[in-house]
Amino acid sequence: MHIVVCMKVVPRPEEVKVDLATKMLDRAGARSVINSSDMNALETALAFRDAHGGKVTVLSMGPPPFEPYLRVALAVGADEAILLSDRAFGGADTLATSYTLAAGIRKIGKVDLVLCGEESSDGGTSQVPPSIAEWLNASQATYVERLVPGKHGTVHATRVLEDGKETVELSVPAVISVVVGSNEPRFLDYDRWAFAQSAKVQVWNEKELCGDPQYLGLKGSPTAVAGLREVKKAGRRRETVTVTPDEAASRIKAEIDRAKIARS
């Protein structure tokens, strides 16, 4: 099987600030990492390939400085890497992002499985995987913790839901989102470092992607950011009080209420 893993490079949350004057995100100088659940998706893909054969390609969308992160994925074990990079892709919301990634997957050609992390730590929408599936008219399974081959070229995916675990049989091509922490991502292999550094990371721009420009980037994004606000300062409040047990209980109760715990 040919597995494509969609990988996002995200800024470290504690290093992103809101510029209160412009109400824009200030990510300048923020160090970045590969999105956590995308590493779980990569591990799922590599384990599947190691056990059942095939090829793993990592695919990302972003500016050229993302390329070294794709090389890390190559050093971890991926076979090929592709970066979709063009100013025209910038400012994309989930609709435009999923369109661009789907166009990249279409250009790759024969792809059996598309694996993504369950959500990104910056946007946190978890919408991109099912959106890619619709653009590709593929089947989908989200919040998957386990993936194994099924009969007649299908795959079996175990989804973690609020009320239990559901195993589904999927026709391929299929788009799968992998639950964060569902496996322990293997560490990078320094013996692959030379390969990872010298391998060709294909960079596709708008022209090479052959997509429909109306669905790309800012223009292809129906949502708009109307405002930004900082909701809490970095770190803990560290409020320490010495009070009576009853007072303590009511203070704790207030924290419980504020945490808005759902009955989901």
């Binding site: 949350p13 992103v16 809101v18 919301d93 989930t94 999923s98 369109y99 730590s121 946190g124 929408t125 978890s126 919408q127 099912p130 959106s131 619709e134 653009w135 593929a138 989908q140 399974a141 989200t142 079996h156 989804r159 609020e162 009320d163 239990g164 675990k165 559901e166 195993t167 589904v168 049989e169 999927l170 026709s171 922490g181 129906p222 949502t223 708009a224 950011v225 109307a226 405002g227 930004l228 606000r229 900082e230 909701v231 970095a234 803990r236 409020e239 320490t240 009080v241 010495t242 009070v243 303590a248 209980a249 704790i252 924290e255 945490a259 808005k260 715990i261 759902a262 009955r263 989901s264």
Partner: protein, 326 residues
């Protein structure tokens, strides 16, 4: 579809078992509130292999209940459900669609938004009108430190998924609205996945997914009965430190920290724990940390939003009383 479309406000009522997800009722209540401001009607829409559960929804005040049915829709499948709901939306042109941000709700919403070529605001924690007819959904990002207000200025319906627990479900009333059951046009190719098995959430412990954790340490002196009671009342799980698991007070699979489980609950109550870094790395990702400890110098207070200095027993008893219930 454009921003002028207005076939009212739709709410996706997600079925779970013989009933609905709690968030479905929460957003139905919110929709009622918005509909009064917008002077539009509210439709609660369900998807399944049969109708029949509509009477429950009617008690939460919708103007209409729409049941989309087909034998192939017995179990959630993102592909088939998106087609069923998408087709109905393309006929009725609602201006807004609210969904609960449950796992299946998200699974459906992402796919449906593409089908409808519209904007989707995911995981909102508050929802307001911008003064006109446009919704602003506030979404936390970047580890919860920043919130963005998202709108969908031109495309309709404006789609929003709402995080469970942020709105209150309205009280049940007398039944309202009419019920319409529509047989969906669907074939085998429209279905992407087929359920092979389902294992209901049982007794298996998974602290990594718990929303609430009550952690006991050395300071509990092994009195975990009350900790368990507290966790039960809060709908949460019991966690423990290495000292508490070493002492045999709690099973090893509940140990939190560097050589245990790394958790990210919405709320963690840390009781009688001094707070060595090997423990605190296991709770640093929590939404809110509340700590109770006798020692005002305990490092745990550095990792807490609220720290209570005092004896554990009386605080726990008081808290249990104030939580009420059995």
């Amino acid at each position: 579809m454009t921003a002028t479309d207005d076939g009212g406000l739709w709410v996706y009522a997600e079925r779970r078992g013989s009933s609905f997800t709690p968030v479905s009722l929460e957003i139905l209540g919110k929709a009622k509130e918005l509909s009064r401001q917008l002077s539009v009607e509210v439709t609660a829409v369900t998807v399944g292999n049969d109708g029949g559960a509509a009477s429950e929804l009617q008690r939460y005040g919708p103007d209409h209940v729409l049941e989309l049915v087909h034998p192939l829709l017995a179990v959630h499948d993102g592909k088939a459900y998106a087609k069923a709901l998408g087709t109905a939306i393309q006929k009725a042109h609602p201006s807004t669609l609210l969904l609960g941000a449950t796992r299946n709700g998200q699974d459906l919403a992402g796919r449906l938004a593409v089908r409808l070529r519209t904007g989707l605001t995911a995981h909102v924690t508050s929802l307001e009108l911008d003064g006109g007819r446009q919704l602003v959904g506030w979404v936390p990002g970047f580890g919860g430190g920043i919130e963005a207000g998202i709108t969908c200025p031109e495309k309709r319906p404006q789609m929003v998924t709402v995080r469970p627990g942020v709105f209150l479900a309205p009280p049940e009333g007398s039944p309202t609205g009419d019920v319409k059951t529509v047989k969906v046009d669907l074939s085998e190719e429209d279905v992407g996945s087929r359920r092979v098995s389902f294992e209901p959430k049982g007794s298996s412990i998974d602290l990594t997914r718990a929303d609430v954790i009550v952690v006991g340490g050395r300071g509990t002196g092994g009195n975990f009965g009350r900790i368990e009671e507290l966790a039960r009342r809060l709908g949460g799980e019991v966690g423990a430190t290495r000292v508490a698991t070493d002492a045999g007070w709690v099973d090893r699979d509940r140990m939190i920290g560097q050589t245990g489980v790394i958790t990210r609950p919405k709320l963690v109550l840390v009781l009688g724990v001094s707070g060595a870094v090997q423990f605190t790395v296991g709770i640093d990702g929590a939404g809110t940390v509340v700590a109770v400890n006798r020692d005002p110098e305990a490092p745990i207070f550095e990792h807490a939003d609220l720290g209570i200095v005092g004896d554990l027993g009386p605080v726990v008893e008081s808290l249990l009383r104030s939580l009420g219930g059995a």
